[in-house]
């Protein structure tokens, strides 16, 4: 490559092209992952219940999600009478834009990140707190009392669990001393004993494992509630309540809501891997990669992140299959009376550890 060709990529136009290319790459891979994530979710669910699951479309039913996509897209779009038409169509767009926007700060490997910003984790938190709007607006604009009540239910649930997620994230920020996701991952290098879940600093930080391990569990459970997954799927609860905020939606707008939800589940799984399981770091020291080409190292690292994400998602799917649904008051009690005080105490403990502990 000549030097003039390299210079082009540093101009504003070249930079814009490169960034758009990265965004497209991430989005395409994400959409494909979501398709197979839905398939995997259904297969795991079916396996637990000793059924076969989707097995007709394509080999082993692998193309089931794409068939569903076609079905959604060709369906007729029905907008209820009296609905607020612009808002009715805006709501799924908000959901899906926010869900895809979150992936901008996700570190996929060393140097593999679309936007390496200093407040990465706050950015994620800000976007996920905006996600409530897609649901509230969708429920309200439908002009249906079932959809409206459903949207209030799920908005209250998401707001409640965001609080405990926020405090858990603060413990991780305190432990790493940075809000940059890439740096949080880099701090956990050198083996699984340096992961935040296990104290984030080898043997010296081992006592804080007593705090960080429960924090990881709380983050996982709050993530289930935040993404409206069973056992906290009160927003949908198709067997006892009508389908919540999405009851008036069909066709492509519903597809967008579904896509946003699935993408958020994947995001939560990967975020758990990044915050607590060392992100793209291998679970053992990797001095042998020093002589590798940078691309090979990145691919090797991405493989670990991928495996960890799949592991967390598998746990997510197992929870869906084996835990019965919570009652709404139990859900609220768990969020406000159990998780919130516990995570508040944990923030104090971790802060004290940082000030008075061995690494002070």
């Amino acid at each position: 490559m000549t030097s003039s060709a390299l210079e082009f990529w540093t101009t504003p136009l070249g930079w814009t092209l490169i960034t758009v290319g990265q965004i497209l790459l991430v989005t395409v891979v994400l959409l494909l992952s979501v398709a197979f994530q839905i398939y995997g979710d259904r297969k795991i669910f079916a396996g637990v219940q000793m059924r076969k699951g989707p097995n007709v479309v394509g080999p082993f039913g692998l193309l089931q999600s794409f068939a569903d996509l076609g079905k959604f897209v060709v369906k007729e779009l029905v907008i209820p009478a009296g609905a607020d038409k612009p808002l009715f169509l805006l709501a799924p767009l908000i959901s899906v834009i926010l869900a895809l926007g979150c992936w901008a700060v996700m570190p996929f490997g060393p140097g593999w990140i679309v936007s390496n910003i200093n407040v990465g984790i706050l950015y994620l938190f800000a976007l996920s707190s905006l996600g409530v709007y897609g649901i509230i607006i969708g429920g309200w604009a439908s002009n249906s009392k079932y959809a409206f009540l459903g949207s209030l239910r799920s908005a209250a649930q998401m707001v409640s669990y965001e609080v405990s997620i926020g405090f858990v994230v603060i413990t991780v920020i305190l432990l790493s001393g940075t809000m940059n996701l890439q740096q949080i991952v880099e701090k956990q290098a050198g083996g699984f004993w340096n992961w935040n879940m296990f104290g984030g600093g080898g043997l010296a930080n081992l006592p804080i494992l007593l705090v960080m391990f429960p924090m990881g569990v709380i983050f996982f459970i709050s993530g289930l509630a935040e993404t409206n997954r069973p056992p906290f799927d009160l927003p949908e609860a198709e067997s006892e309540l009508v389908a919540g905020y999405a009851v008036e939606y069909g066709s492509t707008p519903y597809l967008l809501f579904y896509l946003a939800e699935m993408s958020n589940i994947l995001l939560m799984s990967m975020l758990f891997a990044v915050l607590f399981l060392g992100g793209w770091q291998a679970p053992f020291p990797t001095p042998f990669t020093d002589s590798w080409a940078p691309t090979a190292v990145s691919l090797f690292s991405f493989m670990w992140l991928f495996l960890k994400t799949i592991f967390v998602f598998f746990m997510n799917a197992m929870v869906r299959a084996i835990v019965p649904r919570y009652r709404y008051d139990q859900l609220m009690r768990l969020g406000w009376k159990v998780f919130l005080p516990t995570s508040l105490v944990a923030v104090m403990l971790v802060a004290a550890w940082r000030v008075f502990g061995p690494q002070a």
């Binding site: 607020d84 200093n118 407040v119 706050l122 938190f125 709007y133 409206f148 908005a155 707001v159």
Partner: protein, 205 residues
């Protein structure tokens, strides 16, 4: 034209227009949504100033929490706007006086700032520390120089929270509250009674 200038004028225009639409929109829910849009674009302006930490906090606190409550209240209350508009002419003079005073103040502040420069004769703000992330820079000032103000602000919020609870908490008599501890501690022995019923006699109790 500079890319930043384009972004600034776009964000500023959207902020002003959505601020205007907040008060002109006929539907109160639309008003709140425009308010949210104004908050959001204001956060964008913060990012352009290099204050990304404040921008994110603005979104998390105001858009993600406060505005959600606004939206809840506005959606749940059945506000009758014809009734609200009845006193419009009556309150117009007072509104105009308040608005006039506010705009005069804003013009005066703007003129002073334009004449003296932003930090002109007042105490200079703490010197920005080079290469320090935003959040850390704010933390260093907030928890050292302004710790008392910061704590006082926290106390004010605490008092407001307790006040809101005191105002709305009612202990109605005769309400059977759920006690999770009791429910979990219930055993078959304490929860049921086994009775032998002789045939033809039934249960007398």
């Amino acid at each position: 034209m500079d890319l930043q200038a384009i972004a600034f004028y776009l964000l500023a225009a959207v902020t002003v227009i959505s601020g205007f639409l907040v008060i002109t929109a006929r539907n109160p829910v639309h008003s709140v949504l425009f308010l949210i849009m104004a908050f959001f674009t204001a956060a964008g302006l913060f990012v352009m100033l290099g204050a990304e930490f404040l921008a994110m906090l603005l979104i998390v606190v105001y858009v993600g929490a406060v505005a959600v409550l606004f939206l809840f209240v506005v959606m749940m209350l059945d506000v009758d706007f014809t009734q609200l508009r009845e006193g419009f002419a009556q309150y117009l003079p007072i509104g105009m006086v308040v608005g006039g005073v506010l705009s005069v103040e804003m013009v005066m502040v703007a003129v002073t700032v334009a004449a003296n420069g932003a930090a002109g004769k007042n105490a200079a703000p703490a010197a920005p520390v080079a290469d320090l992330p935003n959040a850390e820079a704010i933390g260093r000032v907030l928890y050292t120089d302004y710790i008392y103000f910061f704590q006082a602000a926290g106390l004010v919020l605490l008092v407001a929270m307790i006040g809101a609870i005191v105002l709305t908490l009612r202990h109605r008599p005769g309400v059977r509250r759920q006690n999770i501890g009791d429910q979990v501690a219930r055993t078959p022995a304490s929860g049921m009674k086994i009775v032998q019923i002789k045939s033809g006699e039934g249960l007398s109790e």
